[in-house]
């Protein structure tokens, strides 16, 4: 009846809907990121269209490229999943990198023990994976302990342990674990028996892929269907209230680190067994840090990490071709990833502000 007096028609306007619908606002963020990088590329005097073309063919242009993308997706998605636990608990596990490194070191340690023996490869591989998990978990646990009992912020603790893990790695590969007569920052290559079996003619291991998929499902179920997941979320949202409600908040934060460490260690083990086939400096592949970006975008929904990690890895794998075809720096992929994160966060912020102002707190 009073509708003609309406003063704020924008609730139904095109722009308002565009900005407040989750899907369209994310699409817009992607478009902005693409425009932004195009501008950048254009300023570098290259053709943006051919850049994107190269990236896409680089990622999907051939079976070989595509399997490489899938192969690299595995560690990234595992790392991102691990971070889901700490993100849910409101923690920033910057120490992911070091945890992956430790996982790799531990799992290679097993290889050294069984090198030259005739133990069954399946057994050794399983032991390696378990040892990797142990290594990652241990490293994460230490960060958690420092946070809980030493009052050391997990960001600083994590950074510290990253340094230590790197130092240990350098010591080993330039020292006791270096191949005979050489010291070039990597160990001897694994006996092919101990490689995760790969699909003939590719670098992709179906085992690794299977592990990743199982982990996606497992983490989703744990975080979204169990008491544990809910309690973790409660701790992340409000530590004080959770404690008063009867949740052992310290224990849960520690558990978040431990579970994150499990996945970090697994990532590290797979980096050794399924990808590098050596232990070397930079074995973590930076997945701990990229995982943080994926995690931020996934907004503690584990299922979403799978596609986001896929986009990220397709970008960086695809961009490897930039150097070959266009003589551009392949780090452009990092710029696109960064731009994606920033624009998604901005658009999400805008969306939330608008919704809060015009629609109130969302239910559900």
């Amino acid at each position: 009846m009073e509708k003609e007096k309406t003063k704020n028609p924008n609730q139904n306007s095109f722009l308002f809907n565009l900005l407040t619908n989750r899907a369209s606002s994310m699409t817009l963020a992607v478009v902005f990121a693409l425009v932004f990088t195009s501008l950048l590329v254009w300023m570098m005097k290259a053709n943006p269209i051919s850049v994107f073309q190269t990236i896409i063919t680089g990622a999907f242009g051939s079976t070989n490229n595509f399997t490489q993308v899938i192969q690299a997706w595995v560690p990234l998605v595992l790392a991102s999943l691990g971070l889901m636990f700490t993100f849910t608990a409101g923690l920033w596990n910057i120490g992911m990198e070091g945890q992956i490194v430790m996982g790799a070191i531990f799992s290679y340690g097993i290889i050294r023990i069984f090198d030259g023996s005739d133990a069954s490869s399946a057994l050794v591989i399983i032991l390696c994976i378990l040892a990797g998990i142990l290594g990652g978990t241990l490293w994460a646990f230490l960060v958690g302990l420092l946070k809980n009992f030493g009052g050391v912020n997990e960001i600083f603790g994590g950074l510290g342990f990253n340094f230590i893990a790197d130092a240990v790695m350098l010591f080993l590969v330039f020292g006791p674990w270096k191949p005979e007569g050489v010291a070039n920052g990597s160990t001897k290559m694994l006996d092919t028996r101990f490689w995760l079996p790969q699909i003939e003619g590719t670098y992709l291991s179906l085992w690794a892929l299977g592990i990743a998929i199982v982990c996606v499902i497992l983490v989703t179920v744990i975080l979204q269907g169990t008491y544990f997941g809910l309690k973790l979320k409660a701790v992340g949202k409000n530590n004080k209230s959770s404690f008063l409600l009867g949740i052992h908040t310290n224990r849960y934060m520690l558990l978040a680190f431990v579970l994150c460490g499990v996945l970090a260690g697994l990532t590290g083990a797979l980096q050794v067994l399924g990808f590098n086939h050596v232990l070397r400096n930079n074995i973590s592949g930076g997945y701990g840090y990229i995982g943080l970006m994926v995690g931020m975008l996934a907004n503690i929904q584990p299922l979403i990490t799978a596609p986001i990690a896929f986009i990220f890895i397709a970008l960086s794998k695809g961009a490897a071709g930039l150097g070959i075809d266009l003589k551009l720096d392949s780090n452009l992929a990092g710029v696109i990833q960064g731009a994606l994160v920033i624009f998604v966060l901005i658009m999400d912020g805008v969306r939330k502000v608008l919704i809060k102002k015009f629609k109130g707190v969302q239910s559900g």
Partner: protein
């Protein structure tokens, strides 16, 4: 509710459109070819059946950027040389193939990309890529692979890989170049102290350092007729180039050498720190020099501070192999080539050379030429009596070293200070 679904749908469509647009363009790319085709067809329909010869593509992976003015540049230029001499050949490359710059793509995977882009031969340019060569050849046993500095194809070598049927190794006898470097240093030094800025420790770097020492020792004793032994010290930084926090800082190492009275530093690394630090000291009035490595123009940053550079000329050895691949006459080979002693600086015949720089005095230049002449005349410095650094015997009096003994030199030689193996 309804409008929400509409919006989701619309965005989905937009995303799909974006993806399609991006995917569609590559297929549109051959368009220019098609526009040309009809023209050709109208003029001479016969031409169409005459399929253009498939291009012959050379692919090379370089561990550093091809603009590093060192190792990778030299390798890349070698490939360029081969390409320029082979009719219709094309060259593609992937640079920065190392785990620091590209942790998520292995050398083998980069090689795979070059293969996808049609490479008929793939050159791996670094000792570092050993695992990449192994992995790639196991997946593609029939693709010709050339591993620079490698020894997998050497039947008499320790790491001979009989299964890699299409893999070849190429290296040139840089030992001679290093001897010339050592000699130039020994001729020029005033303090009798020479520093060797080493990379990481392996067979190759050990024998190169030892060769530099042998050259220095010979010119010190036989040409300058000095009686006190020369002081020859090796410091390894741990990598081919500086990685902050991981390796020793080569700038720092060179600096320490000069400060401690080592007035010549021979570089064994792929970057140019030695000569830049020498220039800095010279600017402060010190009389010091560096000898560079790898690339013909490596002295150009500071010619006055540089005595010269022993450099690689990869094209000389690459050309015949690649040509044979193109011609279909390729067989697996292990190449460890001598320089062209008639003119070591001939770009078409000598696989290594020594380029003198402004720091070398005219007098010493003449003496160095004399030394090079002796080498050309058959002087073999790998002749006993020579001991290892730990005092055990390497070569008895009058015995000449075999190729295996040189290639796999297990220790530095007596008379050199510095680590023989990584601690």
């Amino acid at each position: 509710m309804f409008s929400k679904r509409i919006w989701t749908l619309v965005s989905l469509l937009v995303v799909m459109a974006l993806v399609l647009a991006a995917c569609a363009t590559p297929t549109a790319a051959p368009a220019p070819v098609e526009t040309e085709a009809p023209v050709a067809a109208t003029e001479a329909p016969v031409v169409a059946t005459e399929a253009p010869a498939e291009p012959f593509v050379i692919g090379i992976l370089t561990v550093g950027p091809i603009t590093d003015n060192g190792w990778s540049t030299a390798n890349y230029l070698g490939a360029v040389y081969a390409q320029s001499k082979i009719e219709g050949a094309e060259l593609i490359y992937a640079e920065n193939v190392n785990s620091a710059a590209n942790p998520n793509t292995t050398a083998a995977q980069f090689a795979e990309q070059l293969l996808d882009k049609g490479a008929n031969v793939i050159i791996f340019n670094s000792d570092d890529m050993k695992d990449g060569v192994t992995e790639f050849t196991s997946l593609h046993p029939d693709v010709p692979v050339i591993w620079l500095t490698g020894d997998f194809a050497w039947e008499d070598g320790k790491r001979y890989q009989p299964d890699m049927k299409s893999q070849s190794d190429v290296f040139s006898k840089m030992e001679y170049g290093k001897m010339m470097a050592g000699c130039a240093a020994a001729l020029t030094t005033k303090t009798g102290k020479i520093g060797f800025l080493g990379a990481l420790i392996n067979d190759e770097t050990r024998r190169h350092a030892a060769a530099a020492y042998l050259g220095a020792d010979y010119c010190w004793k036989s040409i300058r007729s000095e009686t006190t032994p020369i002081d020859f010290k090796v410091t390894w930084i741990g990598m081919w180039f500086n990685i902050p926090g991981v390796t020793l800082d080569p700038t720092q190492v060179a600096d320490t050498f000069f400060t401690d009275g080592y007035d010549i530093v021979i570089s064994g690394i792929d970057s140019t720190e030695a000569v830049t630090v020498a220039k800095k000291f010279r600017d402060q009035g010190e009389d010091v020099y560096a000898v560079q490595y790898d690339y013909e123009k490596a002295c150009d940053v500071a010619p006055d501070a540089c005595l010269g550079v022993p450099y690689y000329n990869w094209g000389v050895d690459l050309l015949p192999i690649i040509q044979s691949i193109k011609d279909g006459t390729y067989t697996r080979q292990f190449v460890w080539s001598d320089p062209d002693w008639s003119d070591i600086n001939n770009p078409d015949t000598s696989s290594i050379g020594f380029k003198k720089s402004d720091g070398l005095s005219a007098e010493n230049s003449a003496l160095l030429d004399q030394f090079i002449g002796e080498l050309a005349g058959g002087l073999n410095l790998w002749t006993g009596p020579l001991n290892f650094q730990d005092g055990t015997e390497f070569l008895a009096d009058g015995v000449e070293a075999t190729d295996q003994q040189i290639w796999y030199l297990p220790q530095l030689l007596e008379g050199m200070t510095g680590d023989s193996v990584t601690k």
